[in-house]
């Protein structure tokens, strides 16, 4: 069957999880986080990551009881109608995520690199390249991400380090932001931003075993959360809360600020390569996830022929909002509400079903590789 994904190890798993969480660092998300939690934004990001760890453990339990991918697990635990509901939700999350990232990266490109280009042309190009990437398959996406991952992280850390002369530690005070409770609430509310940390649930049969799934997901989320926290920390230290919360493109602004000497300045243009690659990988992966779930839902024999069509739909979806301000608002709203709800409800629903069915003994314990 051509929708099969191949085998993946822990390195590929980490790469997949990380690339689902990483792209928003280059978008307005850090500024939104600062606006929501002020000086506490950097540790609120870690709080946002905590529910996903619990979700990963819950999913590890579910998958140990009921091996399979998202569709087959839901089918076994919730029945056909439940599986349809869960899978359609998954497809919606993937396509909406792809469309939101696509639109924001296209707008970024227009703002920073190619101001003369036509908006729909840039959106089309992003969708086209993402579709080509998705056509090459999950294995290629995972391995390509793993290969580019160190360069992306090193590039980001380099910019953060080069900003050292601008660090003002007092910008981080008061470190509790609006206070513990509001900050914690904000963190939990925005935990949907990390829903990509559950990507391996969708492809769990491709992972070597449950242990690989669990640790790849945990390491991926840890790495992603850590990088996000450090980026926001530096962002606040450099700009201060008031300025930082107004920035549309935090990373670009940070790179723009780098000045070592007159031969090493204005390096933001060179970092375009970095964020474009990360952005396209994120879009391609979301596109692949959505199409994969669609293929499983409709029990289609092949995935590749659907990808151009999915890419077209995602591009059209991305072009619906009238302006970038609406897109940012929409992104914030969807991540904080829809994605968070999906994360909690689907995980809890399937966990409950798995526990109930295991207790009733209707599902015999299936030995996994790590038992």
């Amino acid at each position: 069957m051509s929708y099969q994904t191949g085998r993946m190890g822990i390195a590929e798993g980490i790469a997949l999880v990380f690339i689902m969480l990483f792209p928003r660092i280059f978008l307005t998300a850090p500024a939104n986080a600062v606006a929501a939690s002020t000086t506490a934004a950097w540790w609120v990001v870690i709080v946002s990551g905590l529910p996903i760890f619990l979700a990963i453990f819950a999913w590890a339990y579910i998958l140990r009881q009921t091996p399979g991918d998202l569709f087959s697990v839901s089918e076994k635990l919730l029945g056909r109608a439940g599986a349809w509901l869960v899978t359609i939700t998954g497809i919606s999350v993937a396509f909406i995520d792809a469309a939101l990232i696509l639109r924001q990266f296209a707008e970024n490109t227009l703002l920073t690199a190619l101001p003369q280009l036509e908006f729909s042309f840039v959106v089309g190009w992003y969708a086209f390249i993402a579709a080509l990437g998705a056509i090459l398959g999950l294995e290629a996406l995972a391995r390509g991400t793993y290969l580019l991952l160190p360069m992306s992280i090193m590039g980001l850390i380099l910019v953060l380090l080069l900003l050292a002369p601008y660090y003002d530690i007092y910008n981080l005070t008061p470190w509790r932001g609006y206070g513990y409770v509001p900050s914690l609430q904000s963190g939990i509310h925005r935990s949907g931003i990390n829903i990509g940390g559950l990507i391996l649930v969708i492809f769990s049969p491709a992972m070597q075993n449950i242990k690989t799934f669990k640790w790849a997901s945990i390491f991926g989320v840890m790495l992603g959360t850590f990088i996000k926290a450090v980026s926001i920390l530096v962002f606040i230290m450099v700009f201060g809360v008031a300025t930082a919360s107004e920035k549309t493109l935090p990373f670009f602004e940070m790179a723009r600020l780098v000045y070592i000497n007159r031969y090493f300045q204005r390096i933001e243009a060179l970092f375009i390569i970095l964020w474009v690659i990360v952005g396209v990988l994120g879009i391609a992966l979301s596109l692949y996830v959505g199409t994969y779930l669609l293929t499983r839902l409709l029990k289609l024999p092949a995935l590749q022929p659907l990808i151009p069509l999915s890419a077209y739909i995602v591009a059209q979806l991305a072009m619906l909002p009238p302006d970038i301000a609406t897109v940012i608002r929409l992104d914030n709203f969807i991540v904080s509400n829809f994605f968070t709800l999906v994360l909690f409800i689907i995980t809890l629903l399937l966990l409950a079903a798995a526990i109930v069915k295991a207790k009733k003994g209707r599902l015999p314990h299936v030995p996994s590789f790590d038992d």
Partner: protein, 626 residues
């Protein structure tokens, strides 16, 4: 009497009035649309041809019967008792050949293709088949030599060989002399005709390889490979004697993989010479050489070599399956064969390492890889390989680890320069001028001030000129090629700058990118990078650094999706497996304990963790320090 008026009139008439040409019409090769497509032997003879063939066979049989009967009658008339065994032998021969005239056999032989026929016991029949196969008498390099074996009774025989493909000395001394002068002495008196060939092979033919063949496919393959075929009257089989002696280029120095250190031997055109060169370096009885035949018309021999106790048997079986599964009529080059069997023939990146060095093949065989060599081609292909293998050179292990690691990094940087430098220049020039320091921006702008073309045209012009010089330099023979290349590049570059067609910075960029492409050790890999950079140029011209990023991403994903004979192309980095300190960074030779993980060899360990056992021993001389 011609006057000036009549002459003028005639000339004018010649000019104005059309007269058809007296020369015959020029040759035009007609496109026969009604030609039936005879593909790979799916051809049947017309009924009339079959009948005629059957009649001809019968006629040849009848002639032989007549001949035998005449001889027998002559011998009976002479009334000598000694003639009786000879008469017996003649009659036996006759009875044997009579089996071929059964109606079923005749019909089968007449219907089948000539090369599918069996060797006949009738010598004249064999002669007729050979005439047909080798298009005699038009074909002048096939020689059919008649001879008489001095047995009792004397037996007619033919030897058949291709002139120029055999060694005349071997032919004369190891075939003709023993057969014509000494065969009678070695034949046992009570020998029957059935084992005549066996007796000849055992006692009369002092050649190193002698085989029997019963069908014309084998006979043809032998003759075409330089063997001599011996046909004996009354024996329904041919004897193929190894007389290969075509002129071959000897073992020479490598032309494309020259090294400062290491072996200086390169492959030649002879398949057996090449396999022997590998065997001479890798003296192991575990080294297996399988020979397959490829090409319906050419029957080109292809050798698969591997170390039996190391190579993954599934991989060996897969390569054998792919090679056996190639159906084509002509296989003239190993590059073509590679395209027939590789995983991604449409992809520019090479999926097998092509080398002309036996020592390099041995290194890879010892790692558990598989090599295949095609007869007539002085290159071996090694599979499976990873992307990083193409950045290794033959002498990497001759140098110290740090030096060769440095060289490998340099080669990878060179590949990136080849791929990205022109497109980065273009992207920055068009879209991201702010990325350059002000002084450099002003210098570039100053240099470009008098150039009338956009930067894209400048780059394309120079790239095209550089490729022309490179291709021209390659095609011009000998030292003249490189001289013309250097002179051409210097003159063209200087002239283009002086004429304000291109700016000096573009000349520098293209020269640097061109030079860097030569640092990539593998020609096919360098070609892939050179070709892809044009795509990057287009992306950079259209979308600036965003386009370059798109290109880079797609390139990485493409490489990650590829496989070389089932092994991921970007192994051991993506997927991550043990690289044995021999990917980009090369560890010391005594730390190369394991074979490449991705190959799943039968024996993972190459050497123990402590390979320098002498380090653990006390030296026999010198003083012990407290």
């Amino acid at each position: 009497m011609e006057t000036i008026f009549s002459k003028s009139f005639n000339n004018l008439k010649k000019m104005l009035v059309y007269t058809p040409s007296s020369t015959p019409p020029p040759f035009v090769l007609d496109d026969k649309s009604d030609k039936t497509h005879d593909q790979f032997g799916l051809h049947s003879k017309p009924a009339l041809e079959k009948t005629s063939e059957q009649l001809q066979m019968l006629l040849r049989q009848a002639k032989q019967v007549k001949e035998v009967l005449e001889t027998v009658s002559m011998k009976l008339k002479s009334d000598q008792v000694t003639n009786i065994p000879q008469i017996k032998a003649l009659l036996k021969k006759l009875s044997e050949s009579s089996a071929e005239v059964s109606p079923v056999r005749l019909a089968y032989d007449a219907a089948s293709l000539t090369e599918d026929r069996k060797v006949s016991a009738v010598l004249s029949e064999n002669f007729a088949i050979l005439e047909k196969l080798y298009k005699l008498p038009h074909n002048k390099d096939i020689v059919i030599r008649n001879l008489m074996l001095p047995l009792s009774p004397p037996v007619k025989a033919h030897i058949v060989f291709l002139d120029g493909m055999v060694d005349s000395k071997i032919l004369n001394l190891a075939i003709l002399q023993p057969l014509m002068f000494f065969s009678a002495d070695h034949m046992q008196a009570n020998s029957s005709k059935n084992n005549l060939t066996d007796q000849l092979i055992e006692a009369c033919l002092p050649a190193n390889q002698v085989n029997k063949a019963v069908d014309y496919k084998s006979v043809q393959h032998g003759i075409n490979s330089g063997d001599t075929a011996l046909f004996i009257d009354g024996i329904p089989e041919a004897v193929l004697i190894n007389t290969k002696g075509m002129v071959r280029r000897g073992v020479d120095k490598p032309m494309t993989e020259q090294t400062v250190r290491g072996s200086q031997a390169a492959f030649s055109e002879g398949l057996r010479i090449n396999t022997a060169l590998i065997r001479a370096t890798l003296k192991s009885s575990d080294l297996v050489t399988e020979i397959l035949s490829i090409g319906k018309r050419t029957n080109t021999s292809c050798a698969i070599m591997y170390i039996d106790s190391l190579a993954n048997p599934i991989l060996v079986a897969e390569i054998r399956r792919r090679l056996k599964g190639v159906t084509t009529d002509f296989m003239g080059d190993i590059g073509s064969l590679q395209q027939f069997i590789e995983d991604h023939p449409g992809n520019l990146f090479p999926q097998a390492l092509s080398t002309e060095r036996p020592d390099r093949v041995c290194v890879h065989l010892a790692e558990g890889r598989i090599a295949f060599i095609l007869d007539g081609i002085p290159f071996a292909h090694i599979v499976p390989v990873s992307f990083f293998t193409f950045f290794h050179s033959a002498e990497d292990f001759s140098f110290k680890a740090i030096a060769s690691t440095g060289l490998r990094i340099l080669r990878i940087v060179a590949a990136f320069i080849t791929l990205l430098l022109p497109s980065l220049y273009l992207a920055i020039n068009y879209f991201h001028q702010e990325a350059l320091p002000t002084e450099i921006t002003l210098a570039v702008a100053g240099a470009r001030e008098r150039v009338p073309f956009p930067a894209f045209i400048e780059i394309i012009l120079m790239e095209f000129s550089f490729e022309l010089i490179r291709e021209g330099g390659l095609r011009i023979p000998g030292i003249l090629g490189s001289t013309i290349g250097i002179v051409g590049a210097l003159i063209l570059g200087q002239a283009a700058v002086t004429a304000n067609i291109v700016s000096p910075i573009v000349v520098i960029i293209i020269a640097l990118a061109g030079l860097a492409s030569f640092a990539i050790p593998d020609f096919q890999m360098a070609l892939a990078f050179r070709t892809i950079r044009f795509l990057f140029l287009l992306l950079a011209a259209g979308l600036g650094l965003v386009g370059v990023a798109f290109g880079l991403l797609l390139l990485v994903l493409l490489l990650c999706s590829m496989k070389s004979f089932g092994v991921p192309y970007m192994i051991p980095i993506a997927p991550r497996v043990e690289g044995n300190l021999d990917v980009v960074v090369r560890g010391p030779v005594f730390h190369q304990e394991e074979r490449p993980d991705g190959l799943n060899t039968q024996d993972d360990m190459r050497q123990p963790a402590i390979s320098r056992e002498w380090k653990m021993e006390n030296p026999s001389g010198g003083s012990k320090k407290p």
